[in-house]
């Protein structure tokens, strides 16, 4: 039998994000300071270190020291994630609008595919937006129907680890901690490039209300 520690080590080394949704036991294990030190020591042997993002909501393995090879890997990953940002953000906003609660998708948000699909089908503007989103390279849908597009989008999101489908018989998806990671990335870019995104949104809203 593999120990809890071994199991977590394995999933960290296989590139998984451990959060409360995807692996609650593992997440709690890592939250305990003594345990994370043990894992850290084992990761260090493989030039890895335990990293966390979004105020300890997500854990993953990072490189301890960076050589040229590691930098190459990271650059590739960074290009991936920065090209994923626009489709993902557009999708998050679409879901937020379609679900009608004005609450952004965060870790633990349950999304019912059928409900979202119904709203999107009833609203041509949403359907148009979904068609645009689903044809991004990230989602790669070629379908012309809302049904095909939304299923493809959810499938890709599950593959990428942003969503989890706890019951294979039901079309209910739960957002994982990777969504929090995504927010963190946008926040980071916002701060380092001093884009002041929130202010831009605010001023746009105010201008809109003036018109």
């Amino acid at each position: 039998m593999i120990s809890e520690q071994g199991r977590i080590l394995e999933s960290l080394l296989s590139g998984a994000f451990i959060c409360q949704i995807s692996d609650e036991d593992g997440w709690r294990f890592l939250k305990t300071s003594g345990n994370s030190d043990k894992i850290e020591a084992q990761l260090n042997m493989l030039n890895r270190t335990l990293a966390s993002a979004a105020e300890g909501e997500v854990y993953y393995a990072a490189y301890q020291t960076l050589g040229d090879n590691e930098r190459k890997v990271l650059t590739g990953q960074f290009q991936d994630i920065s090209s994923h940002l626009v489709p993902l953000v557009e999708w998050l906003l679409l879901v937020q609008q379609a679900s009608g609660t004005d609450v952004p998708v965060t870790q633990g948000t349950a999304l019912r595919l059928a409900e979202i699909q119904l709203t999107i089908e009833d609203t041509p503007a949403f359907a148009e937006q979904l068609a645009k989103i689903s044809h991004y390279k990230l989602f790669g849908s070629t379908s012309v129907s809302v049904d095909g597009q939304i299923k493809q989008v959810f499938k890709r999101l599950t593959d990428l680890g942003y969503m989890l489908r706890p019951n294979q018989d039901k079309q209910i998806f739960i957002a994982t901690g990777k969504v929090e990671y995504l927010y963190e990335v946008i926040k980071f870019i916002d701060e380092t490039e001093s884009l002041s995104l929130s202010e831009q949104a605010d001023s746009a809203v105010q201008q809109g209300s003036l018109i």
Partner: protein
């Protein structure tokens, strides 16, 4: 007087129950649809003070007391009103307590009793309204202001609730228990009402209000965070619209790579199977038995299945024998025609000393006859001689065939 009051009350309550449907509709929609109900009913309700018209051309509405009754008993979350007027209630209590004490001093016991029951009523009403206020606040917190949809509205609702809490706390400061205990002095009833009951309710309400305040603050924080996220997302999209060519700097090229983008590659690949491990044997066997394969074994070269050249030879021998048989039958038919006499097939067989199998000969004769056209058949008469099979019914064994001209 008392009897009259009783009757009037019963009448009012009856009216409420009789028109419950109408009243609930008004409660939910806010105004009366006067076309739907008879004017007589509406008039009577107005007279009883259940409905009222705030303005000459305004619609009829529920009286506030009725609305409050419904909100209170139905635990309706839309109820946002908080009655924080504790100061005047306390003054009322003090006045009543003075009345009571004066009546006692003058030994007017019936009057004193009436004052005491009035006082009791007021004290309980005050405690109930305090508890009700806290409950209203809690019910709004518990569903996170679910009755408004947008985050901004929730934040406003939260701020309203917070101001109500601080107002309530301010009013609660008006409870001065030293003064109250002075008023109660040594009277047991008064002490119980003014000091024990009020203090009990006071301490409970202040405790709960502090919880409410903490919850409201944490909710406000959460709402602000959610709003911040929405703004972040919208701002990002706006920025990308304004400058579509925007690409963040490759942070992985910096000397200090931020941890956020330092994400190690997966190193673990699935392990391979070890067939020599005895303890795995059962699992492996199960796995093997679960394997679904299409069994298409590659067979070795089979010379007998290889393609051959097929020589098709004329099977003259057999044809010849058949030919002979056919010719003999023709000869038999011709002899019958020539002689014009009846002749059995076996007799002909013996006369000409034919060499065929007799059974084959008889078959050929019958077959020859059947092979003729119906016109030719009509020239001949054919008769089979033989007997029924002794065991299997319905089978006729032909021993001989006799042929003649008609």
């Amino acid at each position: 007087m008392n009897q009259n009051l009783h009757q009037a009350g019963v009448k009012l309550l009856n009216a409420l129950s009789r028109h419950a449907d109408l009243l609930m509709q008004v409660y939910l929609s806010g105004t009366v649809d006067e076309t739907k109900f008879s004017p007589k009913v509406i008039d009577s309700l107005v007279q009883m003070g259940i409905l009222w018209r705030p303005d000459a051309d305004a619609d009829l509405r529920l009286k506030n007391v009725v609305r409050q009754l419904l909100e209170g008993s139905l635990h309706d979350e839309r109820n946002r009103q908080i009655d924080a007027n504790i100061g005047s209630a306390l003054k009322g209590l003090k006045t009543l307590a003075d009345h009571y004490k004066e009546a006692l001093q003058h030994q007017r016991f019936t009057e004193a009793n009436a004052h005491l029951s009035d006082l009791t009523e007021h004290v309980y009403a005050l405690t109930e309204s305090l508890e009700n206020n806290v409950r209203v606040l809690f019910s709004r917190i518990n569903n996170e202001f679910g009755y408004v949809s947008s985050i901004d509205a929730k934040i406003r609702e939260n701020q309203l609730a917070q101001s109500q809490v601080s107002e309530l706390l301010g009013e609660l400061e008006m409870f001065q228990f030293d003064e109250l205990s002075e008023i109660a002095a040594s009277n047991r009833e008064l002490r119980h009402l003014l000091v024990v009951t009020l203090q009990h309710s006071f301490s409970r309400v202040t405790q709960e209000l502090s919880i409410v305040q903490a919850r409201l603050l944490s909710l406000l924080g959460r709402f602000r965070e959610l709003r911040g996220r929405t703004r972040l997302l919208k701002g990002f999209l706006l920025h990308m619209e304004h400058s579509p060519s925007f690409v963040p700097v490759n942070y992985c090229g910096l000397t200090q790579v931020p941890m956020l983008f330092n994400q190690a590659e997966a190193v673990i690949k699935p392990a391979a199977v070890d067939v020599t491990r005895v303890e795995h044997e059962q699992v492996l066997q199960q796995l093997v038995s679960a394997i679904k394969t299409l069994n298409r074994p590659q067979k070795a070269y089979q010379p007998e299945r290889a393609a051959h050249q097929i020589h098709v030879e004329k099977q003259s021998e057999v044809e010849f024998a058949e030919d002979k048989l056919k010719k003999a039958v023709e000869g038999y038919f011709c002899q019958v025609i020539d002689t014009g006499e009846r002749l059995t097939a076996l007799d002909y067989y013996q006369q000409h000393q034919l060499e065929f199998d007799t059974e084959a000969w008889l078959y050929q004769v019958i077959g020859g006859y059947q092979g003729l056209t119906s016109e030719e058949q009509s020239y001949f008469a054919i008769e089979q001689s033989g007997e029924l099979h002794p065991v299997y019914n319905g089978n006729f064994i032909i021993r001989d065939v006799e042929l003649g001209l008609r």
